[in-house]
């Protein structure tokens, strides 16, 4: 690693740590949860100004043009704040999808400078992992396209003004840009357990011009899959951040809380549990580092393996830490008032997003021929 990249990452970490430290985590999350607006537009534009949203967009597209290792350095820090801003959903999934789409430049530029907020609507059923699992249809009507189908579990679309929607056309999966108020498009808002938005889109004969097709039939699938793999690593970095923070909060509690005349952290049974959790965060960090280092030079199949290994480790680790954090806090950890619950809820959401541990272990096993194992 050169001094320059070293410095870039240190600065990213510092500004992210400062960003998280500047606000009261509990208040920042509680003010926006279960609200259709989703997050604070002010904070989002700060993230845009800091270059975080366009971090993974090339410079010529208006982005910062930094690498995946820089991205995970950033997200492992912002992840500690469990804020509702859609850094991974917009700044990674949407940005990378647009960057890989022939017609994505305009929206990508808008996203990087803050004028637009794109969200990707690709998933249809719980448990889906790849862009090819797509039943939404796109049919030609003269120069226009007509889209119909439904999408679900769309992350980070609270303030999205444009949806990038995948649809199967003759010739393969294509990507389309749809305005939020496109006639025929219904957008339903639900909430994940952490209070962030979960959108469902229903497309009833939505008619869009040829220019709305940003990745041609056949090209959309590859563009989207590549972005999904990278986002898995980004989300894993966020989980690393939240797991570390939840562990630190739990360690503080073990030091402060007294029962039987002693800090409960002095009981060896609990010390060993704390050490196990620390080991977990360290192993999560290795998984994220390894993925970020090797991903960009890998081919598509290897990328899937790298992303699965990382996402499986971090999903399971974050859930394990969340669960233990409740237990070690006792009854107060089961209240909605205590901040530790915010970490548990976020862990549940991020662990499931783009595939949980079991799904990714299964995919990893399916993609690795037995010979690879020896």
């Amino acid at each position: 690693m050169s001094h320059e990249t070293d410095d870039t990452r240190r600065l990213l970490r510092e500004s992210a740590a400062d960003f998280v430290a500047r606000s009261d985590i509990g208040a920042a999350v509680r003010a926006w949860r279960h609200k259709p607006e989703g997050f604070d537009a002010q904070r989002w534009s700060e993230m845009v100004q800091l270059g975080w949203v366009g971090l993974r967009a090339p410079e010529e597209a208006g982005g910062t043009g930094l690498g995946l290792e820089d991205l995970v350095a950033l997200l492992a820090e912002t992840g500690r704040g469990v804020g509702p801003e859609p850094l991974s959903a917009v700044g990674v999934l949407a940005v990378r999808t647009l960057a890989a789409s022939a017609g994505g430049a305009q929206t990508l530029g808008g996203a990087c400078e803050g004028g637009r907020i794109p969200a990707v609507a690709w998933q249809e059923k719980p448990g889906a992992l790849s862009a090819g699992e797509c039943d939404t249809r796109a049919a030609r009507a003269g120069d226009d396209w007509i889209l119909s189908g439904a999408k679900d579990f769309v992350h980070g679309a609270a303030q999205a003004d444009v949806f990038v929607v995948s649809a199967r056309a003759p010739g393969g999966v294509a990507l389309f840009e749809l305005r939020r108020n496109e006639p025929g498009l219904t957008v339903e808002t639900r909430f994940f357990t952490d209070g962030t938005t979960c959108h469902r889109l229903v497309l009833r004969d939505v008619r869009v011009p040829a220019s709305a097709c940003i990745a041609a039939p056949g090209e959309g699938e590859e563009a989207l899959d590549a972005a999904l793999e990278e986002t898995r690593i980004a989300v894993s970095a966020e989980m690393l951040g939240l797991a570390r923070q939840a562990l630190e909060m739990t360690l503080d509690y073990l030091r402060q809380r007294k029962q039987f005349g002693k800090a409960i952290g002095s009981f060896q049974a609990l010390q060993h549990r704390a050490v196990d959790l620390y080991v977990t965060t360290q192993i999560m960090q290795s998984a994220v580092d390894r993925a970020a280092r090797t991903f960009e030079a890998a081919d598509a199949r290897e990328r899937a393996l790298i992303a699965s290994a990382c996402k499986a480790r971090c999903s399971d680790g974050a859930l394990a830490i969340a669960k233990e954090a409740i237990q070690l806090h006792g009854a107060i950890g089961y209240t909605d008032e205590h901040n530790i619950g915010l970490y548990v809820r976020r862990a549940l959401v991020l662990a499931s997003w783009l595939g949980n541990g079991a799904q990714h272990r299964k995919r990893f096993a399916a993609l690795s021929p037995a010979l690879d194992l020896v």
Partner: protein, 388 residues
């Protein structure tokens, strides 16, 4: 009807007859909306059903007949609870029936029994349990809420917390410190307090499951009649401990795990997960865990049925029951994929399932009723005879 029922000699019935009678009654009278709820039921929801049980004389299966109970053997009591569990009938949030009633029957004065027991049986009074305090959880004996005698009244000051459904109760039984000078277990008394006495305030607390399931309960110069002490002053700890054995077997019941396993099976069928070897293996492990849990529970229940006391090894039952329950609900979340990140029910076949509701309900099972860590400490010392 209640008069004829009261004359029943339940112990003279065969187990099968008895179970059928209970089952028929549940099927006929217990509304489906309140069954198999993945949360603690509120008093207003369960009251109509409780009144039906009460009218039939079935509200307090474990109490002697003279106090309005069913006066039957432990074996029949266990069969009764098992039938309710099997049908997903909720346990009313009433600590009166399971805790304060038996305590008064054993340690109360005749006057106290006449005053309180009939009102529990008729569902006029709903009780909650005020033991835990902000600084006294696992180390309950360190509790500091104090009661000082002033003429004919105890004056209570302090705070209780995690008081389950205190907002639905009109009475609270509590442990209070009555002698600050004594060793910590020896200065504690057992006090009965009308929750509407001036100076008592309750603040409901929301759980991660999204329900206001417990309260902080504050006592500010609350004047309680002197005769509301149960047993002798400063002997509250021993009495409270005497009740714990029954609670532990209750908390070790396989019911919650069985219900969750059924839900997991529904999920496995509806999502096609049963076709996946990995899921089948996990499910089978959990299924066998539940089978052996059920057998373990029966083994401890048999001790009670023989009229013997449970030893400290009953702690292993709660440890295993709650660990199994949690594993099942974690597997539900895993199997539901993205639906496991939403606090709402999703459709599966003809049914719907809110997997997170089950996950949340399972979380505190390893905390309340003596945490798993505390149970393990007990087993290490009192059963395995390890030093320290």
């Amino acid at each position: 009807m209640s008069q004829t029922e009261l004359r029943y000699d339940y112990d003279a019935m065969t187990d099968a007859e008895f179970r059928k009678m209970v089952r028929d009654f549940i099927e006929a009278e217990c509304p489906a909306e309140i069954r198999h709820l993945p949360r603690r039921i509120r008093w207003r929801e369960v009251k109509p059903w409780s009144l039906k049980l009460s009218k039939r004389g079935w509200i307090a299966p474990a109490w002697p007949k003279e106090y309005g109970g069913m006066g039957m053997s432990v074996a029949k009591q266990i069969a009764f609870v098992e039938e309710l569990d099997r049908a997903g009938v909720p346990r009313a949030p009433d600590m009166g029936i399971v805790m304060i009633g038996p305590l008064l029957i054993r340690f109360g004065t005749e006057e106290q029994r006449r005053k309180y027991l009939p009102r529990i049986v008729s569902c006029e009074d709903v009780w909650c349990q005020g033991y835990s305090e902000p600084n006294s959880g696992s180390d309950l004996a360190s509790l500091r809420t104090e009661a000082v005698l002033d003429g004919d009244h105890w004056v209570v000051n302090g705070q209780k917390t995690w008081t389950t459904l205190a907002q639905d109760a009109n009475w609270i039984f509590m442990l209070v410190r009555t002698d600050k000078g004594a060793k910590k277990q020896e200065g504690i008394s057992f006090l009965l307090v009308d929750i509407n006495t001036p100076g008592v305030t309750r603040r409901p607390i929301m759980t991660l499951g999204g329900h206001e399931e417990f309260c902080e309960t504050f006592f500010d110069n609350v004047r309680v009649p002197k005769e509301n002490i149960v047993g002798r002053v400063n002997e509250g700890w021993t009495m409270a401990k005497a009740l714990l054995g029954f609670e532990r077997i209750f908390l070790g019941s396989p019911k919650l795990s069985q219900v969750a396993l059924n839900r997991l099976a529904l999920l496995g069928r509806a999502t096609g997960a049963f076709k996946d070897d990995r899921f089948r293996d996990k499910f089978t492990q959990l299924r066998l865990d539940v089978a052996d849990l059920t057998e373990t529970y029966a083994r401890f229940a048999d001790i009670l049925k023989r009229g013997e006391q449970l030893g400290p090894d009953v702690s292993i039952l709660k440890i295993f029951a709650t660990a199994t329950y949690q594993k099942i609900t974690e597997t539900m979340v895993e199997t539901a994929a993205e639906n496991g990140a939403l606090d709402e029910a999703a459709p599966y076949g003809n049914e719907t399932l809110d997997v997170l509701a089950h996950y949340w309900l399972a979380r505190p099972a390893t905390i309340y009723g003596g945490s798993s860590e505390v149970q393990k400490n007990i087993v290490a010392k009192a059963v395995l005879d390890l030093p320290g």
